[in-house]
C-alpha cells in the first residue's frame, strides 16, 4: 500500500487560500481550457523561445490548473491522472510554481485576449503569485519592494523629507524656467480640483516628470495640489498578487484625497499604478471611491483641447512611436487618448505594429524589473519588442508607464537600438508655449560656475563614459578625479575626499556594492555623497539591499547632460542643506 504524501505547512496554507480566493470567474477560466494551443504564439516568451514549450501560456496555466483540479474540482479528484490534476506537497513544489508564475509571465494579458474560450490566464497567474506571497515564497525583489510599500508607504522607500525636498527642488527649477519667483508646487492644499499623485520612481530617478507636470498645471491655472504623504499611486499588490497590500496601499491614497477634499485624483503616467488605483483597487480594498480618477494623459489632452494650454509641435521633430502599456491598454481601455495627445505635440508620429490591445509587453511588466534573477530570460524575450521598435524607424519611443520606461530602456541598450524612451508629459512640456514674463536682469557680478569648488570622483570602467562625465563636470567648474575600477575608486576617495562620487555598478575589481558599503562605513568618508550612474538596473539591489544609508542619487544610463547636472546639483545642494 502506498504511503500518502504529507503536505508541508506552506502547501497547506496555499491550498487553504486557494479555496478562499477562488471566485466564479477564475473557476470558469480554470475548467474551460481545451488545450487548443491558440494562445501559444501570443506570448513574447514563446516567440523568443520557440523550442521551449514550458513558456506556452496553456502550459504555464496548467501549473495552476492542476492544483485547482486536484483540490477543488471533483472531476479531478475522481480521475486525477486522466485530466492532469496533480497535487503539491513540498516547498520545492512551491518554488517550482514560483519560477513559472513570476519568472515566465509578465501578466500582460495578451494570451487572455487571444484565447477562443475567454480563459483569463493573467488573472489566475496573479492569483497564484498572491498564494505564494502569502507563504513568503517570492523573488527577493518582490519581497523588498512589498516591504517598502507596506512599511514606508511607497514602493521605493522614499522618505517623506526626500519627497518634499524634491518637490521644493523642482519648484526652484520652475521658478527660473517660468520666470515666476512666487511659483511653488502646492502641497496639502484643500478643496482643490485636482490632487496629483505620482510614482516614487519620479522622485528617485526622474524628477523632471514632476516638474513637467507642475509646469503644465501652472500654465493652465489649475487649482491643484500634491499630498505630503500617501502620494504613491503605484501599487505593488498588482504584481505580487497580494490583494491585502493592494487594498491597503490604495486605501491610503483614497483616504488622503478625501481628507484634502479633492474633487479629482489625477495620476501621473504609470500603467500599473493607473490600473491598480483606478480599476482594481476599489475591489481589493472594497472601497467605493467617491471622487473621479483620471490619468494625466487624459488631463493633458483635455487642457489642450479646451485651449487652456497652447502647444507647438515643431519643438518635437524627431520621429516618435508609441508603446501601449499593457495595463493602460489591455486592462483599462486607454488606446486613443495618448495617440491624440502625441499627434498634437510631435510632428512625426509613427504607429507601431501590432498596437493597442495587441501590442507586445515591454517585458518589464508584472514587476519583472524587480526580479533580477530572471533578467536573462527577460532580455531574451525582449527580442520581440526590440524588433517591433526597430521596424518603426522612430528615434523616440513614448510611453505612459514608468515600468515600460525601465523595460524599454533596458532592451534598447541590450539590443543596441538607436532610440530613447520618454513619457508623454515630457513631450507635452517641451511643446507647451510659455508666455514668459520679461525680467530685467539685475546688474551684478557674473554667476560662478555651478559646480565650482566641488571635487567629483568619477568611477566607471568605460573610458568614453569617464571622459564624457569628466568633461561635463569640469566645464561646470568642478575638480574631477577619475577611477576605472572599484579598488581605484576606493583609494582615490580616501586620498582626495571628494564631495561626490559618481559610481558605475559594473566595474572590474572590487564590486560597486562593496565599494559603496566600505565608503558608507568609513567614518572619514561617511559624508561623501554618492550618485549611482548605471546601465544595469538589475544591479540596483547590490546597492539598495545593503544595510547602510542609500545613495543620494541614481541615474539610468543612457543619460543626458541635463539630467546628470540636475541630479548632481540636487545631491550637492543636499550637502549644503546638511550644513557642510
Amino acid at each position: 500500500m502506498s504511503k500518502r504524501k504529507e503536505q508541508s505547512h506552506r502547501v497547506k496554507v496555499v491550498l487553504q487560500r486557494l479555496r478562499e480566493k477562488m471566485n466564479r470567474q477564475m473557476a470558469g477560466s480554470l475548467v474551460a481550457c481545451v488545450h487548443c494551443g491558440m494562445c501559444t504564439d501570443s506570448c513574447h516568451y514563446v516567440l523568443a523561445n520557440p523550442d521551449d514549450p514550458t513558456y506556452a501560456p496553456a502550459y504555464k496555466a496548467d501549473k495552476i490548473r492542476k492544483l485547482f483540479k486536484r483540490h477543488l474540482d471533483w472531476t479531478g479528484r475522481v480521475f486525477p491522472w486522466w485530466v492532469k490534476a496533480e497535487g503539491i506537497y513540498s516547498d520545492e513544489d512551491l518554488e517550482e510554481l514560483k519560477d513559472t508564475v513570476f519568472g515566465k509571465c509578465t501578466n500582460c494579458r495578451r494570451c487572455s485576449l487571444n484565447c477562443p474560450m475567454g480563459v483569463d490566464m493573467a488573472t489566475f497567474n496573479r492569483m497564484a503569485r498572491g498564494l505564494l506571497v502569502s507563504v513568503g515564497i517570492m523573488p527577493e525583489g518582490v519581497a523588498v519592494v512589498s516591504k517598502d510599500q507596506w512599511e514606508i508607504g511607497n514602493q521605493m522607500g522614499v522618505l517623506k523629507e526626500d519627497y518634499l525636498e524634491t518637490l521644493e527642488w523642482m519648484s526652484e527649477e520652475l521658478r527660473d524656467e517660468l520666470g515666476d519667483p512666487q511659483f511653488t508646487i502646492p502641497v496639502d492644499r484643500t478643496d482643490c480640483e485636482i490632487v496629483y499623485a505620482i510614482n516614487p520612481r519620479e522622485v528617485k530617478y526622474d524628477p523632471r516628470t514632476i516638474a513637467d507636470a507642475a509646469k503644465i498645471f501652472y500654465l493652465t491655472g489649475e487649482n491643484w495640489t500634491m499630498p505630503s504623504d500617501c502620494w504613491d499611486m503605484t501599487n505593488f499588490g498588482l504584481f505580487s498578487g497580494d490583494d491585502e497590500l493592494g487594498g491597503a496601499v490604495a486605501r491610503r491614497l483614497y483616504e488622503k484625497v478625501i481628507e484634502l477634499r479633492g474633487k479629482k485624483l489625477v495620476m501621473s503616467e504609470c500603467g500599473h499604478g493607473y490600473r491598480s488605483t483606478r480599476c482594481e483597487a476599489p475591489n481589493w480594498a472594497q472601497f467605493d471611491v467617491p471622487f473621479e480618477m483620471e490619468s494625466s494623459v487624459i488631463t493633458m489632452l483635455r487642457y489642450i483641447s479646451e485651449g487652456r494650454i497652447r502647444v507647438d509641435k515643431t519643438r518635437n521633430t524627431e520621429p516618435v512611436t508609441f508603446h501601449d502599456s499593457c495595463n493602460n491598454a489591455r486592462s483599462c481601455g486607454m488606446f486613443e487618448e495618448p495617440r491624440e495627445l502625441l499627434k498634437l505635440v510631435v510632428t512625426d508620429f509613427r504607429e507601431m505594429y501590432p498596437n493597442r490591445a495587441e501590442n507586445f509587453c515591454c517585458t518589464g511588466g508584472g514587476g519583472a524589473m524587480s526580479m533580477s534573477e530572471y533578467t536573462p530570460r527577460r532580455l531574451k524575450s525582449a527580442r520581440i519588442k526590440a524588433e517591433q521598435l526597430r521596424a518603426t524607424g522612430a528615434k523616440i519611443v513614448a510611453t505612459s508607464c514608468h515600468n515600460c520606461v525601465d523595460g524599454l530602456t533596458d532592451l534598447i541598450r541590450h539590443y543596441e537600438l538607436d532610440m530613447e524612451v520618454t513619457q508623454l508629459v515630457n513631450l507635452v512640456a517641451n511643446a507647451v508655449i510659455v508666455e514668459k514674463k520679461v525680467a530685467v536682469p539685475a546688474a551684478g557680478p557674473p554667476k560662478p560656475a555651478p559646480l565650482a569648488g566641488k571635487t567629483i570622483l568619477v568611477a566607471d570602467d568605460e573610458p568614453d563614459q569617464v571622459a564624457w562625465l569628466s568633461t561635463l563636470f569640469a566645464d561646470h567648474g568642478a575638480k574631477v578625479v577619475e577611477a576605472c575600477d572599484g579598488d581605484q575608486a576606493l583609494e582615490l576617495a580616501r586620498t582626495h575626499k571628494p564631495d561626490l562620487l559618481t559610481l558605475d555598478l559594473a566595474m572590474p575589481g572590487k564590486s560597486a556594492g562593496e565599494v559603496f558599503e566600505l565608503i558608507r562605513r568609513e567614518p572619514q568618508l561617511a559624508d561623501l555623497k554618492v550618485c549611482v550612474i548605471s546601465g544595469r538596473p538589475e544591479l540596483r539591489k547590490t546597492i539598495y539591499d545593503r544595510s547602510v544609508k542609500p545613495p543620494e542619487g541614481y541615474l539610468d544610463k543612457p543619460v543626458t547632460e541635463e539630467r546628470v547636472l540636475r541630479s548632481v546639483r540636487k545631491v550637492l545642494e543636499l550637502a549644503h542643506d546638511d550644513g557642510k
Partner: protein, 225 residues
Amino acid sequence: MSDLLHFAEHRLQEMALAFMFLVYTVRIIWLLRFRAARERQAPTGAPDTSVSSAVLHSWANIAMPWAMESTRKKFFLYLQFVVFHLGVAAAIILSFIIPYGPGLLEHRWVVRLIQGITAAACVVGVMRLARRVANPHMRAISSPDDYFSLGLLVVWLFFAVLAAPNDTSREGPLLAFFLLTAFFLVYVPFSKISHYLYYPFTRYYLGKTLGHRGVYPVRRRPRAV
C-alpha cells in the same frame, strides 16, 4: 430493426441524456457556488463601450475570426475548428433525426449533406490529433483526456458518416454510432468536451470585465495595405 438497435436508439439515449443533464446540473450548481466578484470600479475606456455590448462581443467572438490575432494568424486552424464543430453538431442532430424523424433521411441530399459535413469533420479530427501528437507545444499541454476525447470523436464521426443513410438492413454502423453516442453522453460531463458548457460563463465574465474597462470590443489598427 433489432431490439438491440431500438434500445440503443431510444431507451439507451434517453438514459444517457438524463445522466448527462443530471451531471451538468450538479456541475453548474458547483460552478455557481463560487462567489461572483463584485465590480466597484467606475467604467473606463471610450464612452461607446458598455458591459452589454462587450458581453455580446465576447460571446460572438468565436464567429469573428478577425477579432483575435490568434484566429487571424492561424486561419487554417480556425477553419478546421469551424468544420470540426459543424461536423459534431451534424452528428448530434443525426442522433436525434434517426430515432425521431427518420423521414428526413429519405431525402438523399440531407443524407449527403450530413455525410459530407461529418466526413470533413472526421478528416479534420485526424489532422488535429496528428497536430496534438506531433507539435511539441501541443504535446506538452495535452492530457490523456485530450487525446482520448479527440480520438473518440474521430471514431464517432466516422460512424456518423456510415450511419447517416439509416439503412436498417446493415445495423452495424447504426449500432456503433448509437452506442458511441450514449457513451459520449455519459463521458462528456467529465471531459474537456464540456467546454461548450463553460464557454458562456468564461466569455461572459471576460466580456463583462473587459467591457467595464473599455477594452472590449477590441480595438486595433492594422497596418495600411
